[in-house]
Symmetry: D2
């Protein structure tokens, strides 16, 4: 069932580097994934803004799981490449990332992620990226 697969992915999301960073899952649906991060000192760069790498990691990982929702356990999603733009510094205490699949090819998938800095309940879009991924048969990853 789709909802079981989404629940599995919501748990699977938080491990390794994303767990280390502190990303949390908000919701998952077919072709969509949303995550958040409570910003701490270790997420910042030299000017006090959230580091571009934190935002890129969150945007990449959330986009990857958005694509995972369109597959089954027989496939792994790997990032082929991505491009991300930074619009303004992220300065708020909370970051939200919303990803969606915009081209759901059988093998090549393309997803977009938008990242928002949240202050006093107001969202400011700080970044947007496009991610090209490849769905690899689990057995081929060894």
């Amino acid at each position: 069932m789709a909802s079981e697969w989404f629940e599995h992915l919501k748990r699977d999301f938080v491990q390794g580097f994303p767990a280390f960073c502190g990303f949390e899952v908000v919701r998952a649906d077919f072709g969509r994934f949303e995550t958040c991060l409570e910003v701490r000192a270790e997420h910042r760069q030299q000017d006090g803004f959230v580091h571009a790498g934190v935002i890129a990691t969150m945007a990449d990982h959330t986009a990857g799981y958005a694509s995972f929702t369109t597959t089954s356990e027989n496939f792994r999603i790997l990032t082929v490449e991505f491009k991300i733009n930074y619009f303004k510094p992220a300065t708020g205490p909370l970051i939200i990332c919303r990803s969606k699949v915009i081209n759901n090819g059988k093998r090549i998938k393309v997803a977009e992620s938008e990242v928002f800095s949240v202050s006093d309940g107001a969202e400011k879009r700080v970044s947007k990226g496009m991610f090209t991924q490849i769905a690899v048969a689990s057995e081929d990853l060894g």
Copy 2:
């Protein structure tokens, strides 16, 4: 003196998110910066490979400091956007990133980063990215 500026940047590099990730500086020169990372469990993704976000963060931050070497303390370097390709999974215990400025505009700078996974002394290029940055007068960042 240039060498004092480079030494300052080598210390300045390791703070906030890059310090949290564990990146270390190898060397710095005009328009060039090299860093490394001892891979630990918290750097991996769900398949055991180094996470694309670790590599992107390292590539972005090292590219930023490559551009810093071409400026003075009167400027801050901010990432406008970047694009990064992943060639093969990074599986070795050590990661090296080498960045160089390929277009040193006064305001808009473009740098490249190449990331290598190192196993038994052999380097395998796993990723390459292009980074567009803007040099902002320090006083304008407030």
Copy 3:
């Protein structure tokens, strides 16, 4: 008046390489621009599909004029960089491009373009790109 500026841009769009390619303007509004192309033999590549370069040119030029709508005659828009994904081959007799500004900075602007292949009235999205542009004072271009 805004509408005069938009009318000027609709005429200004069709010159040089875009005129040579045969692009036509459909409509213009603040932060938005739409164009079309009747596909001819000279727009194709070796497999009979519309060439990636035709699509990239249309997406870039339309994105540039979307950003022009947010400025005045005192500024020129130059492309700093862009990234574009191709989802499926464009095979129809008509191509439509819709661009919108997604971050309207004073100096750095980011726009998106979506390109559709149209057959029998049905649109198929074949490509999407993100464009980073810089607004330069006309007098600085000489």
Copy 4:
């Protein structure tokens, strides 16, 4: 023989949109392709510079044929996505593009293109891009 394949590709390069634009082949070798363009009025944009789309088309097509040199007639190369940076306006009477494959995967290939504006024999690098391509079996393209 490889040299026959390269000679075939040098002829095959000039058709459809690239022929319409006027690109010419300079040389081909395994994983490398070089082309040139005599700049005419129809290649320019509204400020008199070579249009970003001309440069993107040349960079994409040359990168595609660089990858073709690594395959055989049984494969077609399609562009999955690319990213290109523009460093300075191209103002000279001649443009040269040099492409090379930087990751020669069996299915996914990554190539780079550098574009130079030539005036009075002096080359000025005006643009650089990274191209992700997929090698598709000829029979699968129908």
